[in-house]
Subunit: 357 residues, 2 copies
DNA sequence: TTGTAAGCGTTATCAT
DNA sequence: ATGATAACGCTTACAA
């Protein structure tokens, strides 16, 4: 026979690590059943006032806080969601995650983050995370479609970011194509014809669509892109390397369209290193409108995308889906905005007339 | 009477949301007890090979995955830790969080993030988070000491970042003082005497220590700071505002020490707007060495702090503390490095000689 | 209005 | 080597 659970166990080593009193102790102290304590926690109005008072006093005195684990297990929900991102770094991912966290927290659910860092076990980690949350946001090409499909099959609500939708999941993306067209058309107006796209359309849906817009702008102008895309990851260092290669070529382009601002910064550095002036000798544009863009020299012409909002919308979609208030997939496309500054060749704005606040 | 749990319940609406088979179903299918299934999961060698095979087959066939919740409840650990940050944004916080996530994930524990965003209910959210994790990292002045003390009292392992230690918790910080001294001394060498510190020593331990270093450098040179610190949050916009005020004054300083790089960018913008050249008319320095710094014009002189490492070390400390492999508090101070570029007045590096890779 | 007791899905301690 | 069964801490029918 074992000792009865409530009995004298002076200094139990205790498997339940730290953690204060349980609902049983509160119940005993208040002279009620655990059900009543539970009720007081959730919907105080279900309990008669005198009883409620006793319970509340007991809760206070014992400093009782219900166990999130126990509650989750009983309820079958985690009250948490997860965000999966690739090897991150750079303002884009953090801004999106922040926007996501902000609205998730406001809705009362915790946020788990998981970076895959091109780690080998990443797929399992993602799948695993799917079991610890009520819903998942997956950014870009973090994991491939098969994994997303598996997640969906398992019944995990999923929202995809900056990535083509997968059956059964929602998605949030931006209008890359039109913005890219506008950007390239703007470059045409500066007289550029030999424009190179620097980014990897094969590695990212965003880059792919930007490249598509790049092409269709050419087509609309009766042109054919002079160069194939220069494959390059979303990193300054890669942009710099790519820039060195391109600019060393005999028939170098007169304008460089970076797939994001970090690539563009790398490109500008490569240009400087090659002794070229931007934009006089070579125009450079970016994408994202990161804060530093306004402070570069020349100031960066780029496309603003609402990074923070992407995160917020993702949270909202996920929430709808988790609460079951919506079942059919929904795909949100957020607008972008061309931000013309001087790296494209436009006159440097005067101090007073600077773009942005 | 209720139906026996295992009995026919064709299409149970099921409180346990999604979620596959339980350990009971696996056990039944393999013709063993749940204890055996549990053993196979954790330490396969405890089970005889033939039995193990049957169990493993059942697991496969049913696609059984143990419930993280059930496991955590039984074990009394969450296999998760949390990071609390203030209103974040900017490279500093994200870099630290990334470093933290990276090593935490490698150690197998999930990471929960919580931004307080100067929200009213923040304190409760933090306390609450403390109940859902095995340990907590708190960045800067996110919450005040009383909250940290309460967390410690509750037995939550806590690591503090960029903040004075609180009894019972570990901490990770950088050597602000010496770097600030080196920085200011460098400015002295450029001939500056009227130097203003832009940042809020009262709002951040980091800013406080940098200001202290600023003062002691003056003292060491037999000088007294010409200006009181110009209070300013770690934001570009605030730096810009602060810059406008200072530079409008009749007796304006000849050098500005921003408490971080974003403030410095704001200061440089204010200088531009005021028609002043940096560094000729006014020198500006920052802190953190964010990636954009190398691309500014002029390139930013700053102090590099190992943001990523701060996160990694925090993870390591927390891990030690959670595993109980260490009990006495430990306080890590990471080194910083003065990065001299041109915004302080040093000659602009040639293209080839640029700082950085 | 309140109590009883059956889950929720594990782990771990005893027995056998 | 394996099986029973008691925790773990809560929620929620159902009864009273």
């Amino acid at each position: 026979m074992k000792a009865l659970s409530g009995a004298s166990n002076g200094a139990l080593p205790d498997r339940r690590s730290r953690r204060g009193p349980t609902i049983y102790e509160v119940a005993r102290r208040a002279g009620v059943s655990i059900a009543t304590v539970s009720r007081v926690q959730r919907r105080a109005e279900l309990v008669a006032e005198p009883t409620r008072d006793r319970v509340e006093r007991a809760i206070q005195e014992l400093e009782y806080r219900p166990s999130a684990l126990g509650r989750s297990l009983a309820r079958g929900s985690h009250e948490a969601t997860g965000v999966v991102f690739p090897d991150l770094s750079g303002p884009y991912y953090s801004a999106v995650i922040l926007g996501y966290e902000e609205t998730s927290a406001a809705e009362g659910s915790s946020v788990l983050i998981l970076g895959t860092h091109r780690r080998p076990g990443a797929v399992d980690q993602v799948l695993d995370l799917g079991d610890r949350v009520d819903g998942l946001v997956i950014m870009g090409r973090t994991v491939d479609d098969a994994v997303v499909e598996e997640l969906v099959r398992r019944g995990v609500p999923v929202v995809l970011l900056a990535r083509g939708p997968v059956a059964g999941s929602d998605s949030v993306r931006v209008d890359n194509r039109h913005a890219a067209e506008a950007l390239v058309t703007h470059l045409f107006q500066h007289g550029h014809r030999a424009i190179a796209f620097v980014g990897d359309p094969g590695a990212s849906a965003d880059a792919f669509e930007r490249w598509e817009g790049f092409r269709s702008a050419h087509a609309a102008a009766g042109l054919t892109p002079t160069f194939e895309p220069i494959a390059c990851a979303f990193r300054e260092s890669e942009g710099r390397e790519a820039g060195r290669r391109i600019l060393a070529a005999a028939d170098r382009p007169t304008a460089l369209v970076g797939a994001n601002d970090e690539i563009a910064m790398g490109l500008m550095e490569a240009a400087r290193d090659a002794g070229l002036r931007t934009p006089a000798d070579i125009a450079v544009t970016g994408w994202d409108d990161i804060p530093a863009g306004r402070h570069l020299s020349p100031q960066l012409t780029t496309v603003r995308q609402p990074m923070h909002d992407i995160g917020r919308r993702a949270a909202a979609l996920l929430h709808e889906r988790m609460s079951g208030s919506r079942t059919e997939p929904r795909h949100v496309v957020l607008p972008t905005e061309l931000v013309v500054r001087s790296s494209c060749g436009c006159a440097a704005p005067t101090s007073e007339g600077g773009v942005g606040t």
